[in-house]
Structures are given as structure tokens and as C-alpha cells.
Point group: C2
DNA sequence: GTTTAGGAGACTGTATACAAGACCAGACAT
DNA sequence: ATGTCTGGTCTTGTATACAGTCTCCTAAAC
């Protein structure tokens, strides 16, 4: 009898392409505004145009790609203002996520949060910057998962990836304070203190916003407005 | 000189199919859990499978469709708990939207809000229930647009459509109090009173939650403020 | 009676083919 | 020089074709 029909987790080219394109965008390998020509992408990935097209639609729905009918798709552009705007949304969403996570605290989610924090710490110790960014996103997402709200999780995933994108684009690395903020947020959630958890989450995002603005002030000139 | 290269707003089958499938889902024409067979949909819409496939990916990203590789797509199912969970997210998001809209108030957005409210009122007077639902969603979306936050708008559109879906599924029609709540929220935004606007928005969503729970036939509890 | 092998049909995943729109460059007219 | 026509080319939109896999039904074996 077939043994793994459930656990198979089939790999489709479409999913692989989506992951790869998203990775290229988040890493900056595909710069903002880059034209996404289906033929070229398909050739460079060794697949046909169909999986590429479907991936582009998904990335467009997530906000990473802009599509204009008949004119093609480009990597979305992110003005400084749009980057800053995201932090407002994050404070609202992640504040809610932290509050709900504290309310619904469970041994499982606590273990999951600690696990991700530990992976992040190891990445920090190892100086693996790209892994740090990954686990940072994973931690915030784990908070969302701990909230036990499916639509919240659905929303948060692209939102957090977008935040990761913004940081990679602006070269705004977070310092060690980001780590301590994660720890205290994690503790508040595990302790079940809703108000404290929400406050920690909001403060953390506000702190990230300051890092972002500082980095923008350093590195970016303002040719447009 | 070329006359309309910009305003063309090209129609693609993909967009038409996406709109039509979303409409069928929101209207309940496609019930929860319905299998979405690409061949059949393509035939019923008079197109090939490709536009249908791309539409399904988009609807999946928006949360209306669940896709399992190699097994196909189905209309998402919405448990009572998941339906209720959405209201938590809405309170956070729409509260933020109302606050930002009040902060960024402008004659344009005020006119837009009043326009949608007027359309909604006409639909109410005419007893056009499906139009009422449409304009209700449009009003909430207009608040999001008035906030002047592009990512917030991007998030809110599927979220509000999902809310509309939930109401159509549970036959939880909102009474006239929904109308007066809209008006007072609109006024608070135009007046620029951030705290009042946010409070009105949160209260409105809370009111919607009560209608939902009443329709579902469960006792209203107050797990959160 | 229950279980298991196997095969037919159905459906998805992927590739290829064709049609139509958009861009670019050069020719031509004004 | 400016403008606009025209052909060629590139790219997207859509359709079709084929391969792989899943489901389900049937039948044989225990």
C-alpha cells in the first residue's frame, strides 16, 4: 500500500519557483523595479512559462510584484514612505498577535517560541546574517501562530516577509537590542500577561521603525518625494 | 498623440475569471468545500484552463481557496471559530485605518466616504440586499484608502471581502444600526478626531461580531475588551 | 467477508504552440 | 527638426497537448 500519501508534501515546480523568486526579491538579487520577463525567468530556472506565470500572480497578491496587463510584471518598488507605513500596520497586527498569544498560551507554543529564539541566537553567534533575518521573521511568525488565529497567520506571513525585505533593502541591521526585545516579548507571552505582551510587541516594532529611519537617514538621499 | 494608452485598463480573461470566481464564492453560489475542477470551470466560463489556474492561485493567496498539490483546489471552509477570529483582526486593522484616516483627512477622501455612504443608503432604501453588502464593503475599504497607507489597503481588500463572505454564509444581515454606525464613523474621520474614529470603528466591528454570533446562535461572550 | 492487486478514468502539472498587443527604429512627409 | 507611419521584434495572453499521479472500481486471493 502507498505509505506517504499524506506526508508526501509534494513539490511542484510552481511552489519551487515561487519560493525562489521570493528569495531573489527578498535578498535584493532582483532589485526593485526589475522587469520580470516570463521567458527569461523560465529559462533561467529551467522550467516553462506556466509555473512562472502562476508564481508571479501569487507574488503580486502578496505585494512583492506589480503586474500591469499586457505590459508585464516588475518587482514592486518601495518608497521610504511606503516602508515607514508598514510599521503602522505591524504595530497593530503584531500587538494583536502578542496579546492573543499571551491569552492562548500553551506549552506547545512556548516550546516553539523558545526553539526559534534559540535558533536565532545560534545564528547571531555564528554571524550568519541572512539566517538571523530568517529566524527573526520566523519568530514573529511563531508569535502569530501562537495566537491561534488562522487568518491572522495568513496575513502576517507576507507582511513579515515584506518587513524583512525592507530591512534587507535599506541595510538596516538590527543590533543586539532586538534580541533582548524578543526575549522579553517571549517571556510576557509565556507568562500570559496580555497587556505586557502587546506593549512589548508594539515597542519592538517601534524600535525597528527607529532603526529603519536611522538607516534611511544615513544611506538614502531623497531624490523623489 | 496617442489617446488612451494609459487609461486603457485592459481586460484580461484572467482578471475576469478571478472576479467571477470570487463573486461565485462570496455569493455562496460555490459552497464551502466545493471542488474546483479546472476543466469544468474553464468550460463553464468558456475559457481555457490557464486563466482558471492563475485565478485559483490568486484566490488561494487571498484565503478563499485551499490548494493541495496534486489533489486540486476547493473553496475554503470557514468554521464558526474561524469566522469569529476574523473580527479580532478586523478590530485591530479597521481601528488603525480609522485612526489614520482621521489623521490624514482630506476633502477628497471625505467626498469619497460620503459618496459611498450615499450609494449604500440608496441601496438600503431600494431593498437591494446584495448591493448593500457591496457598498458596505466599499465603505470600509474607502476608510482604508483614506488612511493613505498602501499596504493597509492591500491587506484590507481581501479581509473585507472575507468578512462579506462570512455574513453572506451565515445569513447574518445587519440591521439599520449598521447604517448609523457608519455615519458616525464617517463624521469622526472627517472631523479629524483620531481617538473617536478608532473607537467608532472598533465598536462597529464589535457590533458586527455580535450580529454574527447571534446569527450563528451562540451566546455572546466577552473574551476581550 | 475482508483484503489486496490492478487497471481504467479523471484530474493536475508542465510544456509547447499560436495569436495579439506593445515597443522600437528607421523612413517619409511636413 | 518635428511628427507620424510602418515594419519588425519582443513579450504577454490564451489555447492545446502530453505526461504523471491520484481515485475508484473491480476482481481475485486468503
Amino acid at each position: 500500500m502507498t505509505d506517504l500519501t499524506l506526508g508526501a508534501a509534494h513539490r511542484t515546480l510552481r511552489d519551487e519557483v515561487t519560493k525562489e523568486l521570493r528569495r531573489r526579491i527578498l535578498s535584493g538579487e532582483l532589485a526593485q523595479g526589475t522587469r520580470l520577463v516570463e521567458d527569461r525567468l523560465a529559462a533561467s530556472l529551467g522550467v516553462s512559462r506556466n509555473p512562472v506565470r502562476e508564481s508571479i500572480r501569487v507574488l503580486a497578491a502578496e505585494g512583492f510584484v506589480q503586474v500591469v496587463p499586457r505590459l508585464g510584471a516588475t518587482v514592486a518598488t518601495l518608497s521610504t514612505e511606503e516602508g515607514e507605513e508598514l510599521f503602522d500596520v505591524r504595530m497593530a497586527i503584531e500587538g494583536l498577535a502578542a496579546r492573543l498569544a499571551a491569552r492562548k498560551r500553551s506549552p506547545d507554543s512556548a516550546a516553539r517560541l523558545r526553539q526559534v529564539l534559540d535558533q536565532a541566537r545560534q545564528a547571531v553567534d555564528g554571524g550568519r546574517l541572512e539566517a538571523v533575518a530568517e529566524f527573526n521573521t520566523a519568530f514573529h511568525l511563531a508569535v502569530g501562530e501562537a495566537a491561534g488565529n488562522s487568518y491572522l497567520s495568513l496575513m502576517m506571513k507576507p507582511m513579515l516577509q515584506r518587513a524583512q525585505w525592507i530591512f534587507s533593502q535599506t541595510a538596516a541591521a538590527r543590533g543586539p537590542h532586538s534580541w533582548t526585545e524578543h526575549v522579553s516579548l517571549c517571556e510576557a507571552i509565556i507568562a500570559g500577561d496580555e497587556d505586557e505582551a502587546q506593549a512589548r510587541a508594539v515597542a519592538h516594532v517601534a524600535s525597528a521603525r527607529r532603526s529603519f529611519l536611522a538607516a534611511v537617514g544615513r544611506t538614502v538621499k531623497h531624490p523623489n518625494d
